[in-house]
Symmetry: C2
């Protein structure tokens, strides 16, 4: 019996071992003294390291892909690249990688650095990422510094490269980094098994190598020094790669070898790349391209067709579990190739209702307050210093220690729209609170505003309405017109399959549930009426009402969090990833009110009427959240709002004899 239990424990330990290696702080709620460990998260992809994911996918016969990007040259390029990560991340790459150019200050804190871009991809886009690193002409201290910084930022994978020697006078240094092998050894020596290491393979031999065979021997050295897998330089014929793999296997290289795929996207970019990589474009390709070299579309179409054909041969060979794409930071060609190969995930499954982070210390995180639903990057930013992340349940957060959000202009938190575009959407000139209501209504209905522009975003929502919110469109339209300015909502759901395309999340075979939620700004007059109405809905509706000064009213029991999204899955404990937490709400409140000023009022001149209107709303409106606890019944929150309007439209006549009845409700006016 004891042996038996031992055995099952070992099984579990084996599963979880790879979790904890790597993470400097594994988080979770288990303490050393406790015999209880934390529940593994739903998606093993969140806990496995890259090489294990790769092995698992390969063993299951699944094909997969990965995407290479280079760091942007400008700050606005960084904003664009991050939103490209979000879009291309949804197609399901196993990982992305970010190149490293010593001339571009790649290890700095600039928004254009490789380090910052890779860190953003991991932390804010939730993408498994490989950071390239070149060692040529670098001191050990410098390299160790980069690696320590990468580890601190949550990066877990390094592509170890020699890099191009700078200047013609480069010579081998006795104790320095002369080859990628030295870098691989250094990483293993200084960081043990923390990083997964990738190295480069050259299917036609490295241009500087003495021979193809000599180059293969170098590759073997890199792998023997501790590399986990190989990504190859680009090539133009499937046979080139397949021969290379055979040759690698023949000399004992057993790790995964991923083909680098380069869909030809234009004549100039092809020439440039070929020059840089000292490759020859095969005769049969040049013959097609030369006649159409001025026709970009034709070349791209050919490139797609050529890449698809080559990839098919590779995948069918049985030697290739996954394909690595040189995207050149473009979307169209790579996505099209992947679509034609059936590798692009059109309808991505959500692990949880919100976008996860790939930082190792957050791998156990499986619950968040609903408030940041449309601003997940801001939530990650404000909780980046936490050591523990809630897992299994939120618990009573007596001191959630949210960081201040002072810099609204961090490139990964910034609106994708320019000031000009925002003014067109939100109004060059506001004339009244009503004109603000109209902006909200236009956003909800996706109808053009008075100036004829579609409102694609609001300060609280940088994207158009989520499909789920669309389910509530008619009701939202109606209430926004009357100054119930909604910024977050979800319908109630009573056990839909976890595979539901709109509201589903988590593994298949489960059921998901939601309590209806509504969050909005509204005037203090409305709030006074609302509080009277809410008495009829006790204890069905939980509310929390706060203004910018922190005057707040709530009926939350003991300031406890209320789970508003949960899922029941086969063979698991309940997952409850979204809560309405009264304490966190007061931190969210700061951010929600500040966005009026930072994102909207500041578009206008000081003292301008437009700015004054936004400022008035900021200073006087209340932020309200409502939860309908009775999820199996029809959502009553619209009825609550209707009742509020009804009360405002038809106030009860105040007769002296009845006044005592009103005393109590007066007391509950917020701010009194």
């Amino acid at each position: 019996m004891v042996n038996q239990v031992q055995r099952v424990e070992d099984t579990w330990r084996t599963c979880s071992k790879s979790d904890s290696s790597g993470a400097s702080n594994s988080g979770g709620e288990s303490s050393k003294e406790s015999s209880r460990s934390s529940t593994p998260v739903l998606d093993t992809d969140r806990t496995d390291r890259l090489r294990d994911k790769m092995r698992r996918r390969t063993e299951s016969g699944d094909h997969w892909f990965s995407l290479e990007f280079f760091p942007p040259r400008t700050a606005s390029g960084a904003v664009n690249l991050i939103s490209r990560f979000d879009r291309m991340g949804s197609g399901g790459p196993l990982f992305i990688d970010i190149t490293w150019h010593p001339a571009g200050d790649p290890g700095s804190d600039k928004e254009t650095s490789s380090m910052m871009i890779a860190s953003t991809a991991v932390n804010y886009c939730g993408l498994e990422s490989i950071l390239h690193l070149t060692c040529c002409n670098q001191t050990k201290e410098k390299i160790t510094g980069y690696l320590s910084k990468a580890k601190r930022l949550g990066l877990k994978n390094i592509m170890a490269l020699r890099g191009d020697p700078m200047g013609a006078d480069w010579e081998e240094e006795e104790a320095g980094f002369n080859y990628a092998t030295d870098l691989v050894k250094h990483i293993r020596c200084e960081f043990d098994d923390y990083f997964d290491i990738c190295v480069a393979g050259y299917p036609t031999g490295h241009p500087e190598a003495e021979s193809y065979d000599e180059d293969l021997r170098h590759l073997k050295e890199k792998v023997d020094a501790g590399a986990d897998f190989i990504i190859t330089q680009l090539f133009f014929r499937a046979d080139t790669f397949l021969k290379f793999v055979r040759d690698c296997r023949a000399i004992g290289i057993t790790c995964p070898i991923l083909p680098g795929i380069f869909p030809i996207q234009g004549y100039q970019s092809l020439r440039q790349l070929v020059k840089l990589s000292k490759l020859e474009v095969p005769e049969e390709i040049m013959r097609v391209i030369e006649p159409i070299k001025d026709n970009d579309a034709a070349i791209r179409n050919y490139g797609i067709e050529q890449a698809v054909g080559m990839c098919r041969v590779l995948l069918e060979s049985g030697e290739v579990p996954g394909l690595h794409f040189y995207t050149l930071n473009r979307e169209v060609a790579t996505m099209e190739v992947l679509r034609q190969l059936g590798l692009w995930i059109e309808d991505p499954r959500r692990t949880l209702p919100w976008a996860v982070s790939a930082h190792p210390k957050r791998k156990v995180e499986d619950v968040r307050p609903i408030f940041w639903a449309s601003r997940p990057k801001s939530y990650i930013y404000r909780t980046q210093d936490w050591d523990d992340f809630p897992n299994g349940r939120w618990g009573n957060s007596s001191s959630p220690a949210f960081g201040e959000l002072n810099d609204y202009y961090l490139f990964y938190l910034k609106s994708k729209s320019s000031k000009d575009a925002l003014l067109k959407m939100w109004g060059e000139e506001l004339t009244s609170e009503q004109s603000v209501y109209e902006v909200f209504t236009s956003y909800i209905t996706a109808q053009p505003n008075v100036a004829g522009h579609k409102v694609m975003c609001l300060p609280w929502n940088d994207d158009p309405l989520a499909p789920e919110t669309n389910l509530l469109k008619d009701e939202l339209d109606k209430v926004n017109r009357r100054g119930v300015l909604t910024i977050n909502s979800q319908p109630s759901i009573n056990g839909k399959p976890s595979s539901d395309p709109i509201v589903g999340w988590g593994p298949p075979g489960g059921y998901v549930f939601q309590k209806a939620y509504l969050e909005f700004f509204t005037s203090s007059e409305n709030v006074t009426a609302l509080l009277k109405v809410l008495k009829k809905y006790e204890p069905r509706v939980n509310y929390h009402i706060v203004n910018v000064h922190g005057q707040n009213t709530t009926n939350a029991h003991d300031m406890q969090p209320n789970a508003v999204t949960w899922g029941i899955f086969p063979g698991r404990e309940i997952v409850q990833p979204t809560v309405v937490d009264p304490v966190s709400f007061l931190y969210w409140k700061d951010e929600a009110f500040a966005l009026w000023i930072e994102q909207w009022a500041n578009l206008y001149e000081d003292e301008s009427p437009s700015r004054m209107i936004i400022k008035y709303i900021h200073d006087n409106y209340f932020l309200v959240n409502l939860v309908d606890n009775d999820f199996p019944l029809d959502n009553c929150l619209w009825q609550v709002i209707d009742d509020m309007f009804e009360l405002l439209d038809n106030p009860p006549e105040e007769q002296p004899a009845e006044q005592p009845n009103d005393e109590q409700s007066d007391k509950e006016q917020p701010g009194k």
Copy 2:
């Protein structure tokens, strides 16, 4: 804003402060480094200390009651008293108290000691309990020893008494304990605020006091020394008590004063009590009783009527929030008085689906494996050494460290039935496995066995079928007849109101859910067929199959627990109090198999055929648990069993050509 948050934090801290004082180890999963505290349990009664519960109930205008018992004289008396606690506990006393008789070795580990009885009430019956303690003729060391032991056992409340001086030569000692006041001071001095302290009040003055006023002053001293509330000696007229309360208030005693109610239950017990307490029975009572002194029933009826009348006066006075009953360890009279007063809870609400313990370190406990559903005391016993109790979720229990269950005869774990009664129910002589099946069937159907006796319990269930299990009676009957010997089951439930009289639990306004569960012993032939059948039910059905030797087969993912009971409540996170945990199952298995031998086989002579039959089942049968994950659909577990019988009745003909198909299923036979 910071002030605002501070305020709400303080609110929460105030709520939770009283939780942690008192408990030597507050348990839960929060660590010191973490900013996250554990979720408060559903029922504040579990976390509040007695004086706070009393205050809360009093403030809300609720009336309540408490019950006094004395320790039993014999071991079998202890078994009976514990089952009386379970029955009378269900009526909802605010607390019970256990008297202390220095002559009866009250602080020992004997099953008849006050200490052990109070500890059992707290730990195993989940009752808030007060332990009496007398100080007269005791050393400080001895008293401190008793108090330390009480604290260690989870007791939190002491009734501080002087006790009767032993022998005639008693004199006041200068530094010793001469009065209860000395004991109160000592408790506060040595144990600070850990214990809630109760003291005795004498509505007609203590018999040894110089005067009524002198006695009142002594009472004031006791309260000033740190007592939290007063329970009075019995009295016969409401006026006596109400005057006493007025007199107490007049001299500045402000704490709660609970009237001690003594329903007259018989002539002799009344005479004895009156003699001991030196009270006079009023004329008007004696006048009624004397003529009927030989008619027990008549006296009891009068006693009930008299007590009800007096209690009504007391409750209506507005001075009495709760009533304390001197039960004399009897049920009928006290329960009848309480029923007539409307204080007895006929249909007790369950806080959780299982019976909670009142040990302070377990106050956060809100999840348990389902296996011990019918043996909660055994579960508490086997986990008594845990420091942390699962709260919010079970988590992966890689090392749950269950204690061994060696002593099946601890008085609080023992069957309520005698060996003779068990033989009648389970068969004086067993002739085959089939005769064992018939015992199970009789238990399920509540029909007499072949010898004409009703089977009221099984080794795994000391009580008749739960109302909930009764819902499954027909199906259970059918499968037990064929050797699927069920010992635990629950139906699936898809969102019934938490107030449902059969399956409801937790606070009102919520919804409860269950996954269908079935646990049974069955032969290895059946298991072989079952495993073939179960393939059709992947991943809908989770199973775990193990024999006494620990050979086990499961499809539990990563050995994770599966939540099978959960509830959704207004304004709260999800509560998931029952899990099927694959690791704990292997510990339960030991107990479940051992019960065949300890409780059943050992009833028969060594080497007798009856004993051999039970031994054969113990050695060869498997213990199986099944969970149907698809709780919104009709329970499929009966279909699984039907399919198993169908396969056994009509085995597919083994044709040589089809044999390869069977290979795989062969491999999955447990034990191969």
